[in-house]
């Protein structure tokens, strides 16, 4: 049968990984119809997907994540994958925290591809050494270190001024300040007591302080350009998910030596996850349905998981994998992932749509990015705005 796959892995390692998947499918006698729509973190792809669905002609699989999966399922577009899941024993392979996201009313409708850790701090050790500082573990340390770096003429924090990047940093600061419990209350359950609290004001205050170490030209910069600044030693650190590793790898750097990965300040032992997944749409042709199921199965097979995640910088969703072939950052990530899943330090990343609906996510983005870009940021007022924004979107 034929699988048409809508994705936004248009270039680089991702594209190579996707190409591998294509090959695997073709080996199984299927045809792969590529439907790549790059740009805007998948915004364009979502638009295309919606119109395709409305025209009654959705692809077999589409890159959809987080709560959007539930929305699509609710509208009845998605197909039931339980037959594959049961056969492959997915429930055992995938942590419940993640498999929950893939399910709608207890049935699998999507396949997870990988797990990204969002709260990473990427560090250029040369620069740190040059300034005579250590990798910070708390926010306060971060501020100290950053001041010194600044004095040495480095940009302390590399950053790209796009709403989702602003939110990514905010995500990390919020986790550090609120702790996993309150983070979940605020961004998953939308508990107004937490959202509209002094603590949240503090989060904004700290966030503002973190952002003050960003250079002036950040606006509109792509995240990988920012990573390039760390690689070239113009900047010392970047708070970004583990996909940033791809950039370091492409530059031929070795983790642990040429660059360091550390938990974002104040979030050691905690793990904000971001899972890429493919939702499977209801199809009519038996042939195609078979191909679709094969696709679902292939994605979770160790062979693909290894290949893909090595390229993408993430870790496999299967907790039973041998991490030996992975680099130390991935290994560290896997460790924390497993540990935090048990001690409650594992939280879904709101900035990447795992915690809340795209509407609320967007509202938070608006408040956060506006805060970053306002000429005199006011944490108190912004907290009110955040509460109002979330309230209106609920």
């Amino acid at each position: 049968g034929e699988v048409e796959v809508l994705h936004w892995w248009a270039a680089g390692g991702e594209a190579r990984a996707a190409a591998a998947l294509k090959e695997m499918m073709e080996e199984q006698g299927h045809t792969w119809k590529d439907f790549a729509v790059a740009g805007g973190g998948g915004e364009a792809a979502m638009t295309v997907l919606k119109t395709r669905a409305v025209s009654g002609n959705p692809p077999a699989a589409a890159q959809i994540k987080g709560l959007d999966i539930r929305e699509w399922a609710e509208l009845g577009f998605l197909t039931n994958l339980d037959s594959v899941a049961d056969a492959e024993n997915w429930d055992q392979l995938i942590p419940p925290m993640i498999s929950d996201v893939m399910k709608y009313e207890g049935e699998y409708v999507a396949v997870p591809v990988n797990v990204h850790r969002v709260n990473w701090l990427w560090v250029n050790p040369e620069v740190m050494k040059d300034a005579g500082v250590e990798v910070p573990t708390t926010l306060d340390e971060f501020f100290e270190v950053a001041d010194k770096l600044k004095a040495e003429g480095y940009i302390p924090l590399a950053h790209g001024g796009q709403p989702w990047q602003d939110a990514t940093v905010f995500d990390a600061v919020a986790l550090a300040e609120l702790g996993p419990e309150d983070y979940r209350k605020a961004f998953v359950e939308h508990d107004m007591d937490v959202i509209n609290s002094d603590k949240m004001e503090e989060v904004f205050a700290q966030f503002a302080k973190v952002m003050s170490y960003v250079d002036d030209d950040a606006a509109g910069r792509d995240w990988n350009t920012a990573t390039g600044m760390v690689i070239r030693g113009e900047a010392a650190m970047q708070i970004m998910g583990d996909w940033a590793k791809g950039e370091f790898t492409a530059a031929g750097l070795t983790p642990g030596e040429d660059y360091l990965c550390a938990p974002a300040p104040g979030t050691a032992g905690q793990f904000t996850f971001n899972v890429d997944s493919f939702a499977m749409f209801s199809l009519t042709e038996d042939e195609d349905i078979k191909a679709q199921k094969d696709l679902a199965r292939t994605i979770l097979e160790p062979e693909f998981q290894t290949l893909f995640n090595q390229n993408k910088g993430s870790i496999p969703v299967r907790t039973d994998m041998d991490m030996g072939e992975f680099d130390i950052c991935a290994q560290a990530s896997m460790e924390t992932f497993k540990a935090s899943a048990d001690d409650g330090g594992l939280v879904p990343s709101f900035s990447h749509g795992l915690a809340t609906t795209s509407y609320i996510q967007g509202q938070i983005f608006d408040v956060v990015t506006n805060f970053v870009n306002s000429s005199n940021p006011d944490p108190v007022k912004t907290t009110d705005q955040l509460a109002a924004a979330i309230q209106s979107a609920m």
Binding site: P163, D217, G220, S358, D366, T369, N373, S375
Partner: protein
């Protein structure tokens, strides 16, 4: 006897009536496909959007009516206000500056310039580029660390600073710059064509009346290009409304949402935020604003025709 004689005539009349009927309907038949297509493709969909704006459609269309809620939400949304205000700034400046450049360049180019054809082509070519390309290039040129600023620093002018692209208060003006770069040549072409179309004896008359060249352009030629102004405004408004691509390629609405335009707002809410009702409401407000601008134009257009 009489009715026998009349018959053939009647038959002839009937068949010629049929032909006449066809002739009479032909024009309508010819335009019918267009109007069916446009009727559905524009007005049908507009109606549908209008209906959606009264529902709480989120992810995909649904038909739970909530009255004017979405509009109320819209008017409370700060981002919407920013977007609308941006459209006013962007539209106003873009159209105004394009007209100004277009008029000035056309006027100058009308002075028997050597190599006029080549210069004209240079002014006109940006129109050939897609807004995505324009946006990408300008984003690069205006980027302080890569583009113009760096160039100036490299050339030794180290105090030069131009960082509007990354300043939320000024970023919208960089979009105006890029858009003007793209469209002003086209406006120039429109005006040049208009100037060439003016009856030369009017200029002769003005010269005999004692007017100097600037006075002739200012008092005689430009006023008589009123229809060209209108055509230009129409084309520019069309481009302004469609400059979604440009904004996306240059700033994606940033920094923050300081360069948001209603189209971007609508797109974001309809397609990425799953707020189709709100998106539809914003589309309706946008259409309303366009209507308010367009109707007077059409009115004056049709009224003027009648006096010819």
């Amino acid at each position: 006897m009489e009715h026998i004689q009349r018959r053939p005539a009647e038959v002839a009349r009937a068949s010629s009536d049929l032909m006449d009927g066809l002739q009479r309907w032909l024009p309508k038949l010819v335009v019918a496909p267009t109007f069916i297509l446009v009727g559905i493709g524009i007005y049908g969909y507009m109606l549908w959007t209008g209906v959606l704006s009264f529902t709480n459609s989120s992810f995909l269309p649904s038909y739970d009516f909530v009255g004017l809620d979405q509009y109320a939400k819209l008017l409370e949304s700060e981002r919407w206000l920013v977007a609308s205000w941006n459209l006013a700034i962007f539209g106003g400046l873009f159209i105004g500056i394009c007209l100004l450049f277009g008029v000035v360049l056309a006027t100058f180019l009308d002075q028997r310039i050597r190599q006029e054809g080549a210069i004209r082509t240079i002014y006109l070519y940006p129109m050939a580029l897609s807004m995505i390309v324009t946006g990408t290039v300008w984003r690069w040129i205006l980027n302080p660390s890569l583009g113009l600023e760096k160039l100036m620093h490299d050339w030794g002018w180290t105090s030069f600073s131009f960082d509007w692209l990354v300043e939320s208060d000024f970023a919208i003006y960089t979009i105006v710059m890029a858009a003007v770069w793209q469209a002003s040549g086209f406006v120039m072409a429109l005006f040049l064509a208009g100037l060439r179309g003016v009856d030369s004896s009017i200029i002769r008359a003005a010269r005999v009346d004692g007017a100097s060249l600037p006075v002739i352009y200012w008092k005689i030629l430009l006023p008589s290009l009123r229809p060209v102004f209108f055509s230009s405004v129409m084309v520019l408004a069309h481009i302004a409304i469609k400059s979604f691509d440009l904004v996306m390629a240059m700033t994606s609405g940033g920094p923050g949402y300081s360069t948001d335009l209603p189209a971007v707002f609508m797109y974001a809410h309809t397609f990425t935020r799953g707020q189709m009702g709100l998106g539809s409401a914003s589309a309706m407000l946008m259409l309303g604003a366009i209507l308010a601008l367009l109707v007077p134009y059409l009115y004056s257009e049709l009224r003027e025709k009648r006096h010819d």
